[in-house]
Structure formats: C-alpha cells, structure tokens
Symmetry: C2
Subunit: 358 residues, 2 copies
C-alpha cells in the first residue's frame, strides 16, 4: 500500500490497477437508477433541450449526473473507475469528491454500506481505485455519480477474471425531489450523502434529484417539467430559493400546472430551514422569516382551494440550535443532513405510508 | 441583498462593503489565540526554520494558520475581511472555505456562536463579507484562520464609525494537540469545526493545533518540538499515520524526548479510528487493526517503564457503525467530528479535571 498526498489530506491508494490486472468496462450498459425521466441522455438528469423557458444555469444543471447511481453486480476483489467530466470550477462550499467524484455502496446484510469513493483530479479525466482487496463473493453495488458535474463517460474497472453485470433495479417506487441547493446536495461530503440519496438507500425507493442550486424559484418551467415526469410522489423544497413575494405570486400557479397532469399524486412540501446566517444578521433573519410565513400562507391557500393529497412538513429542515450544522450558514454539512433526516424521514415515511407508498 | 453563484451553491452576499462605508484595519495588532509557540511568525503555527530534521511537507504545514484564531471586540454592524494566502491547490476532500476561508464566532449569552464565514476565491487575494446587518452592541469576536493555507496578511473591515480593539485572551489553560490529518482538520466543513477548535470554544481552553496531515509518524523532530513547547497538557493523535512497525519502534523514544523537558505534564494519547475504508478492504482492515494493537502494546510498555501522568483514551474516535461519518472512508466529516466529540470530550474533561486543568 502506498499513499499519495492530494494536498489537503492523504488519500489511500493502491497500485494494483497499474499492474495491468484490471479490465475496464463501459458503464453505459449497467443499470441506471434515480433518473427523473427515461429519455434523458445517459448519465444526465434531464434532456436540457426538451423544455422551453429553462434558464441557462438550470439547463446546465440538467446535464449534471446529480442523484443518479449505477447498479451492478461483480465478484471482483477490486473496483476501479475511469471517468470524464465537463470543466467546472471547484465550488467553495463543497468537496471536489462530492462535486465530481464517485461514491460506492455495497449491499451487506440487507443494508447499503459505504465502500469507497472515486477520487477526482483537478482535470477533466479521472482515474481512481474505489475499493480494493475485498473477498471475491458476488456483490451488489450502487455507485452514485457526481453531484455538481456532467459525466461524459464512465468505465468500471474490475479484475480481469471477474464478472460484471447490470443489476435489476434494486428499488421500487419513485419519489422525485424538487428543490434548492440543499436538495441538489450542497454541502454533502460525498454524492451518496445528499439527503435524497440517503433516503434512496434507507427507504429502498428511487429518489431522483431535481435540486437546482439557487434556481428553484417556483418558475412555471419547473412545474411543467414536474407535470411531465412520472412519479409515485413528489417532494418539494421550493421555499428555500424564492423571495417571499415570489412565493406569494407563484405557488398557486406552480401547483395548478402540476395538478393538471397529476390530479392525485401526493405532493409533499418541505418548509425551508431557519438559516444559521440569520443568527446575527437581522436582515437575513427577517427575510427568511418572511419566506417561511409566505410558505405557510401559500400552503393554507392551496388547502382552501381544495387541493387534496397535499402535505406540508413544517419544520422540515431542523439543524439544531448550536449553529454547527452548516458549511456557510446556509448549506447543511453531513451533520446538518443527519439532523434534518432524523426528524424529516419519519414524517415523510408516515405520509408515504398513508398514501400506500411503502 | 444580492447573491452571487460560487458555482456549487449560491452564497449570500451584500453590497455594503462596495459602497465605501467600510474601513479596513490590519489584523496584526489584534489578539492571536491557539498559537503553539509565542515566537512563531504572525499567523503561522510555528517558525518553520527553527528546527532541524523537519521534512519539507511538515515545514510547509508549519507556515499554515491552522488552529489560530483572532480575538477582537467591535460594535460594527458589519464585519468584512480582506486576506491574502499562499498558492495551494484545492484539496479533493475539503471545502475551500475550510482550507483557505475564515470562520467567525461571536460570544452570545456566554457561548461562542457561529456568525459567518469569509468566502475565499480561487485566487491568492480574497475579500468577503463575514456577517452584516447586526445590531451595534459591542461584540466579542473569534475569527478562525484557514486550516490548510498560509495567511500572508489579513485585514478586518468594519463600519467607518465603529470601534475595533484587541480582546484580552478569552481562554485559560493551553492544551496542544499533536496529530494527523484528522487533528489538522480534514475534513471539517469550516476551520472552526476542526475538533481542536470545537474543544477550544466548548471548554474555554486554548487548543493549538499541531496536526500535520499524513506526516505525524512519531518522528523525533516532532517530539523535540513538543518538548520545546509550553502547555498545560498535550493530546496526541499519533497512531493514525505511522505503520504498526513505526509505532513499535518509535513510541518509546518519542515519549522519552518529551518527558526530558516535561516531566509531569499530562500526556493524553488517543487511539486512532477504525477506518470505514476497512469495511470491505481486508488489507486496510488488517493494517489498521495492527496499528491499533501496536498502539495498545506501546502504551502498556510506557506504563511498564513507569511513566506517570500518561493517559490513553481507547477508543477515542468513534464514528458510529453506519459508515456515514467520513468524506472518503478516512477523514471525518462534521458528522464524524460530532460523533467523535460526543464520546471523546467527556473523557478528556475527566482526565483534565483529574490533572486540575479546569
């Protein structure tokens, strides 16, 4: 075992892959899970050319692999990856591993257990061991793709004499999550730690991620996309990005567009978080409080209008009161997501159960 | 309030600083806390030229501002920063905010409460609001410097008519923590979330950070530096980086060098974590288990040799059993550090109390 320094901290690396004992396979024939729509280009969340009125930033986000995972089986003792991404400047509040890296889980005693990450370089092509020196039992694998990058291609490397095959989709039901950067995954430490991905593994449902960082402002184009998407339920983190006035003006139309196509599909709205950044900043505190009040009024209005199968979890993103659970006062760290899910997941499960989604 | 996209996720930003209402003050006259030695160059942990035998990587680490915070008082409604760092390639398993950014806490009802981060650019000079729109009461501030970068200079920006003054050191006792990347702060989301910084605030003691990522291998040069450093106690995360053989060969000499100068100072050794990366990788599992066993044998040997005031916390870094608490299988996220401290802090407090450090 040798190690190389990736500057910030040493990352474990082995040399097996360089010894010519590994064979790489194109991952495009493996099973894709957590896709929003079936006609999206490979490794993309959505076809960015399909809808009109989509802003350029959101179009770019649609080309990302956010939330998508690849399911496969292998008896290889070692798993590697080579992948190519599109140029993106590293974010300031995320790890490059979350943004551009890979995150592998293996089914073990009925649970999806973290196995290793594919470490990206500061380049467009990446090559990394993910996990090595395993036993050679047949393993069911789930590999999450980058949260904030477009994957141009992906190859899985396994031992030359090992097998690699597509798994049947290991999940049933499909809950599409629409939301802000918090849903998009900022700032999970690795892609499988974004909260939709955690729900994906813990509940055993597909949880496609339609988080569009900073851009989820109840725009009609997003409602038309949701209307056009098949799902057993939709979860909406749509009160984090819009202004109080935008919530007031847009929510009713947003829901009306969706209900036109999905008259009975459960719609679960999440109240936005109380931002740590508003602890001392009175302007942020007021603005965020106004947003939450506008969300509450908007949901009351929808119920008054007679919408059924519409749920509101409030609060939905509880970060605790010690102000230690975000990267930057806004975006939850894995500690923040853990605290959010501790409270949110049981409430969501209860709603889904009531809707016979279990 | 406008916002700008830092690619990964939107960061809150205001425009007050650009309106010419802010005055910047050189921070070098403010109070520095968590310094390892008093003669280190400004904003550096140690004078990198002072000791012989130090490897180039560790010398570079000594120039970093890791663990250091600036204490000041101000009645400004807004706090900004301009700072200059040395070129470092962003790490793959850390946020740029943790690596190169600033992290501010304000004393509120007797507790240090997170107030905001200074967002770095992908540049060598940075300018960022930290917190804005506060009331104008006099506030006691604690600003942590970057974890993995050298700060060349730093200016604090406040309202033109506001006051800024050095605080008296707001901590008593000094516990120096020597360790690996885990101590260095990989992979806290912001610099104040590294575990020594969290202990600094929660216990009210200075906790200088002598974590040297990947390089803390019980080398004699590190023992001589510890011997040369004044502290009320030392905490050692020295079993994460060395091999089992290095632990066996080096621990006794390491402690002997320190004890020569510090015959009675409490020495608290931390067992290393059980790495998530060893869940499926049997080679890592064996290697790490051998390290932990070597650490246990080494501590038994030290006790047999008659060393007093020597403590061993084992386990000391408990990440839980769900494999969700690291960025990459090795480095704890803030969730990992939270879990570590939940168990570690009470044990450490008990030891320090026994040593009359409280």
């Amino acid at each position: 075992m040798i190690s190389f320094s990736s500057f910030a901290a040493t990352v474990e690396k082995d040399t097996t892959a360089e010894k010519g004992t590994v064979k790489y396979w194109d991952a495009s024939h493996l099973t894709l899970v957590n896709r929003i729509q079936p006609d999206a280009p490979l490794f993309q969340r959505l076809d960015e050319t399909k809808y009109s009125g989509v802003t350029p930033t959101v179009k770019r986000y649609f080309t990302y692999s956010t939330g998508i995972a690849i399911a496969f089986r292998t008896d290889s003792r070692n798993i590697y990856a080579r992948w190519k991404t599109k140029a993106e400047k590293p974010g300031v509040n995320m790890t490059l591993i979350a943004q551009t890296g890979l995150d592998l889980y293996i089914r073990y005693n009925g649970r999806w257990v973290f196995a290793g990450v594919g470490i990206p370089g500061h380049t467009l092509t990446h090559q990394s061991p993910i996990v090595e020196h395993m036993d050679n039992s047949l393993k069911e694998c789930l590999l999450y793709l980058p949260l904030f990058d477009k994957v141009e291609n992906l190859e899985i490397g396994i031992d030359k004499d090992a097998s690699l095959e597509a798994s049947p989709v290991p999940f049933h039901h499909k809950i599409v999550v629409v939301g802000s950067s918090i849903t998009h995954g900022a700032s999970a430490a690795r892609s499988g730690m974004a909260y939709p991905a955690r729900l994906n593994r813990s509940l055993g449902f597909e949880f496609p991620n339609l988080g569009v960082s900073g851009q989820c402002k109840l725009d009609s184009f997003l409602a038309y996309i949701v209307a056009d998407t098949e799902a057993d339920a939709f979860v909406f983190d749509v009160f984090s990005n819009p202004s109080p006035a935008q919530i007031e003006e847009r929510l009713e139309k947003f829901v009306a567009i969706i209900r036109e196509k999905h008259p009975d599909t459960p719609l679960v709205f999440l109240q936005t978080e109380v931002r740590d950044s508003g602890m001392f900043n009175r302007k942020i505190a007021k603005y965020e409080s106004d947003k939450r009040r506008a969300a509450e009024a908007g949901i009351r209005n929808l119920k008054r209008l007679g919408y059924k199968h519409l749920y509101f979890i409030n609060p939905a993103m509880e970060l605790g009161d010690d102000h230690l659970a975000t990267v930057d006062g806004v975006h939850p760290s894995d500690l923040g997501f853990e605290r959010i899910l501790d409270k949110l997941e049981p409430q969501l499960v209860k709603i889904l159960h009531k809707c016979k989604i279990d």
